[in-house]
Symmetry: C2
Subunit: 215 residues, 2 copies
DNA sequence: CGACCATTTGATGGGCTTCAAGAGCAGTGG
DNA sequence: CCACTGCTCTTGAAGCCCATCAAATGGTCG
């Protein structure tokens, strides 16, 4: 259960620590005292909570440039490494307001995503979100498992799998194994996701994309 | 379409304005420039967005003491008065960090609520949330319509109505018309909602309850 | 009373879950 | 090298829950 944590706190004063964690590692647990927040440098992180019936709810995925763990004074959700990751750990201090704002923003986007009523719509929206992390036309990595996606979107792994192949069958995406896809019909996919062209820009004023012009 | 706005900006310097709005009034619209945020003094407010297929998503309900409209630089959702309301309008300034934190908090709770998979679970959780705004054993007001609840929980008005009477039939609540209920079996309702006794306290470290001891 | 609205209730069908089994793939050890 | 194991992902079949279509009820206001 304990994990290989290699801490390289040499970088800066002890107000900012860099740490590497292996895939699957826990970063913190629901209920922990929370005094610091994190920034992803490399890899992908998921946050999750459990419902009383035992089923898991993944409340967010976080990529390089994203921040997470701003909850206080206690963790309301746990955080885990989806892939091998490098993180920056920040001390809490006034002025971390932008971090809060970004967290709120991503929470609101996620609420809107969950508002989609059918499985295809939700998954399509999710794929668009992933694709926005990549360049246009590039292959898109799906670092998380089908079960992760399911617990994120409120579906079952089976439905996710079926729906994925369904979207591929419609020639909106092309699958190259379970963990890689490429968008074939961007317009069609966005339409399925219920996202207008204009909105899709708004959806990620993203820190990972160099060209983050928000007008 | 325009609305009776009586503005009583006498209260304080022009950095803090009080305003009264009639039930159904719009407070701001999706896309508007956003420079101020609001605090509810009296009544209930809803925020909402629309999906591409036209269906409505209510992203939150806000009661006396709650804050809303912290999004920037543009409104990502519109806000409307569910009942007659009195609001305080705040200028944006550093130090509104606590407002952000509260907004994030309520967003996360809502995500968790949407994570419930069945209609009964969601509605039960929603009722518990409402009940937490009231004293123990008191009658609980349901200021919003069935359609509002439906668009909030991702259900239809019909399912909400059916499920409501179903929960009443199980003697977990007692209905006194569509807009008032009373909890008969708190333990049973919480269990249905998938909320443990311990958690139910955590769920509302609420500004509306005087006794907000969070340990 | 009659019109209108919100809510309730009934009947049917579809989409997702559930249960079940098979396919693909990496790691291990004989 | 290949059988064996364990895992994730895929696919099939049956059932249930909720959306949809449709209609009735109850309340408010003219």
């Amino acid at each position: 259960m304990t994990l290989p944590v290699r801490e390289t706190d040499s970088r800066l004063a002890n107000s900012l620590q860099s740490l590497d964690l292996a895939k699957g590692s826990s970063i913190y647990f629901e209920g922990d005292r929370a005094t610091r927040w994190y920034e992803v440098v490399r890899g992908v992180v998921r946050t999750c909570r459990f419902h009383a019936d035992g089923h898991r709810q993944l409340t967010g995925f976080f990529y390089a440039g994203d921040v997470f763990g701003v909850d206080e004074p206690r963790r309301t959700e746990s955080a885990e490494a989806v892939t091998d990751v490098t993180l920056l750990r920040h001390e809490r201090e006034p002025g971390s307001e932008t971090a809060l704002r970004r967290a709120l923003d991503s929470a609101q986007r996620f609420i809107f995503l969950l508002g989609h009523r059918t499985a295809v719509e939700r998954l399509a929206a999710f794929l668009v979100m992933i694709a926005n992390r990549h360049g246009v036309g590039e292959d898109c990595a799906v670092p998380m498992s089908r079960a992760d996606i399911a617990d994120h979107l409120g579906l079952t792994m089976h439905t996710v799998s079926r729906t994925m192949t369904d979207i591929a069958r419609r020639k909106l995406i092309a699958l190259d194994g379970p963990q890689v896809f490429r968008i074939v019909d961007p317009e069609g996919l966005r339409e399925l996701a219920g996202i207008s062209e204009a909105e899709s820009v708004l959806l990620h004023p993203s820190p990972t994309k160099p060209d983050g012009a928000l007008k």
